[in-house]
């Protein structure tokens, strides 16, 4: 025998009810016995059809009339509202325009004063800049002239040694009298060996030869 306490204080009920409609699952196809069943079309007699058509047409006409009436009323109200508001808004707009004009003039004056000051400063700086540039240019020119005159002086001094038609013969004579050969070689010790046909003498061998001779 189960004690009464256990039965009363149990967690889950003895008989559970599953809340589910008595129908087949959604994914189940049409039953085999019902595949070829074609539901019968509802039969409406000609009289009834005509009457239903008349009533439906009547209803549509009535509804259209009512809808049109209210639509027109709404449009009328909207337009009247717009016109009423437009008069007010025109007055307000004119006032706003006047205010804006005054404010604009005031701003213009302020900006003009500011601009005047700024222009003055700008002009000053521009003048300074140009003066500086002119000075620099002058200096540059002067330097150039100086350099050129120095060059001229140097060339004038050098011109005394130039070969002219008058002293050409003498120059040729002197050149023939002392020919200069620039074909020389230099060894590591800085000795110059002039001439093309100068035999190369090895210093070591030369030393040996000297030793052998003595």
């Amino acid at each position: 025998m189960i004690p009464k306490n256990v039965l009363l204080k149990r967690v889950s009920p003895l008989i559970t009810q599953i809340a589910e409609a008595h129908r087949k699952p959604r994914w189940e196809p049409v039953a085999k016995s019902k595949i070829y069943r074609i539901p019968k079309r509802p039969e409406i007699s000609e009289e009834e059809r005509l009457e239903l058509l008349r009533i439906n047409n009547n209803y549509k006409t009535q509804m259209r009339a009512i809808r049109r009436f209210y639509h027109e009323e709404m449009m009328r109200e909207l337009s009247s509202l717009k016109s009423a508001s437009s008069e007010m808004s025109q007055k307000l707009e004119a006032e706003e325009w006047e205010k804006c004009l005054h404010l604009n003039e005031k701003w213009n004056k302020e900006v003009a004063a500011e601009r005047e000051q700024r222009r003055k400063i700008e002009l000053d700086t521009m003048e300074e800049y140009t003066l500086k540039r002119i000075e620099a240019k002058d200096k540059e020119m002067r330097e150039k002239i100086e350099k050129a005159s120095a060059e001229i002086r140097l060339q004038k001094e050098l011109s005394a040694t130039f070969i002219t038609p008058e002293n050409l013969e003498a120059a040729i004579d002197t050149a023939l009298a002392n020919p200069i050969d620039y074909n020389f070689a230099i060894d590591l010790k800085g000795n110059h060996f002039y001439g093309r046909d100068t035999p190369v003498v090895n210093q070591d061998r030369k030393d040996n030869a000297i030793n052998a001779n003595t």
Partner: protein, 144 residues
């Protein structure tokens, strides 16, 4: 349609003919004859023998009266009261005629004409049930 005139075609088109017919659409005869040539198919037509022609002509003759649709319809009773109250509330002048303007769908195939101005319509639409098309369905029911 009623065949009025048939004409043969030149030699190259020996199998064809040119036909002029009088067309009737929704009980209205078209003002001009219609020519049928080439762009037509035999199964679209059904030739009626001469002795059965009178039946068809009679059917056309019966529906020749002109239909004029009304411009307006009376207001529904509750709307009448509502509008009176509404206008009082808004301070508008009260309406004297409780009618609504009617609007129709536009179609080139409509044969019924819409009344213009004060023309008297042949049909009258009401907000009530109206005249039943088949009274046998309302047997034993009092209609207002």
């Amino acid at each position: 349609m009623k065949i009025v005139k048939v004409e043969t075609c030149p030699d190259e088109e020996r199998r064809r003919v040119r036909v002029w017919v009088e067309k009737t659409f929704r009980g209205r005869k078209l003002p001009q004859l219609t020519e049928i040539y080439r762009t037509s198919y035999k199964p679209d037509y059904n030739l009626i023998p001469k002795d059965e022609e009178y039946k068809l002509l009679e059917a056309v003759k019966n529906s020749e009266s002109e239909v004029i649709l009304p411009n307006t319809i009376e207001m529904p009773p509750l709307m009448k009261r509502f509008i009176v109250k509404d206008h009082e509330k808004k301070g508008l002048e009260t309406i004297k005629e409780y009618v609504l303007p009617l609007s129709y769908n536009h179609s080139p195939n409509r044969v019924a004409r819409i009344a213009q101005g004060d023309e008297k319509p042949t049909i009258k639409f009401t907000m009530g049930l109206g005249k039943p098309a088949s009274p046998s369905l309302y047997e034993g029911i009092p209609l207002q």
